[in-house]
């Protein structure tokens, strides 16, 4: 890392994640995105659950999508890994597993350490309204990968 972080103020992983957790607890924006720890006593702050409410005027409208997000030890220098729990047909998601392909989500492909789990969820929601996805037929509502 340039200057090895001595000159700029670099927020360490856990303090960044605690701040993300607080933001998630407060609730942000219109409530169509939410995130929190999968286990409220996970002192390593590694496993998160996110939800996206399908945007209006798309095939996803009104459905609630649950995603697992994993922040490794190198987060936020490295992006989280993301997997849908709710079945979905979406260009960035592997059909059989629900795993999100980081190359197909801008925010993950061009990851910056200032980005957050909220940005990842917003990036995925943006794909739901994109031309290639918004009309794609969807699996039965409520079906899951695991």
């Amino acid at each position: 890392m340039a200057g090895s972080g001595q000159t700029e103020c670099v927020i360490p992983r856990n303090f960044k994640l605690l701040r993300e957790l607080e933001l998630g607890e407060k609730g942000v924006g219109d409530g169509t995105l939410s995130w929190g720890l999968a286990n409220d006593s996970d002192i390593t702050l590694s496993d998160w659950i996110g939800t996206i409410i399908g945007p209006p005027r798309t095939a996803f409208e009104g459905r609630i999508y649950t995603l697992k997000m994993h922040c490794g030890e190198k987060y936020p220098d490295q992006p989280p890994t993301v997997q849908f729990q709710t079945r979905i047909n979406l260009s960035c998601v592997q059909k059989d597993t629900g795993v999100v392909d980081p190359k197909k989500v801008n925010c993950l492909r061009q990851w910056s350490r200032n980005a957050s789990l909220a940005d990842v969820l917003a990036g995925i929601r943006d794909l739901m309204v994109s031309k290639e996805n918004y009309k794609v037929s969807q699996p039965a509502e409520g079906t899951t990968y695991f």
């Binding site: 001595q6 360490p12 303090f15 605690l18 409220d40 006593s41």
Partner: protein, 155 residues
């Protein structure tokens, strides 16, 4: 260390040269604002014999805003929650730039000696503490044994 405020450099030097008894605080190799802290459980407290790992971060606004501190070792204490967050007035509204890293660490050590169940962060623990203090102390000892003895520093 150009760019690091002189105040932080001074505090860091003093922490190394004249450490607080029972506490070590070492800056991270790649981030001089991020400290790896070890606090020995105070004698005559249920944390005695334990080594507690904490991390401390000096935000950009420091010393105008408080350091951020959290436990990385699990601990049973009414003012420390399951994620290691600490309820301590000087870390919040009672912070003053006249305080230092050293004073913060001393206050945390004192908090281990004198849990305050009337100003709880973890309400379940605080209720247990008020209902059955001896039972809560035994539980705190058990946690110390389980998580704070023979534990390695987290990465």
């Amino acid at each position: 260390m150009a760019g690091l405020p002189r105040r932080i450099i001074k505090e860091t030097q003093r922490l190394q040269a004249d450490p607080v008894p029972g506490i070590s605080a070492v800056p991270d190799e790649s981030n001089a604002r991020h400290f790896h802290v070890e606090v020995a459980g105070p004698v005559k407290s249920p944390y005695e014999g334990g080594t507690f790992h904490l991390e401390l971060f000096l935000p950009e606004e420091y010393p105008m805003s408080a350091p951020k501190v959290r436990f990385m070792t699990r601990i049973y204490h009414p003012n420390i929650d399951k994620l290691g967050r600490i309820c301590l007035d000087i870390l919040k509204d009672k912070w003053s730039p006249a305080l230092q890293i050293r004073t913060v660490l001393l206050s945390i050590q004192a908090l281990l000696s004198a849990p305050n169940p009337d100003d709880p962060l973890d309400t379940t623990v605080a209720e247990a503490w008020k209902r059955d203090e001896l039972g809560a102390i035994a539980q705190a000892r058990q946690f110390t044994k389980e998580y704070a003895m023979g534990n390695k520093p987290p990465q």
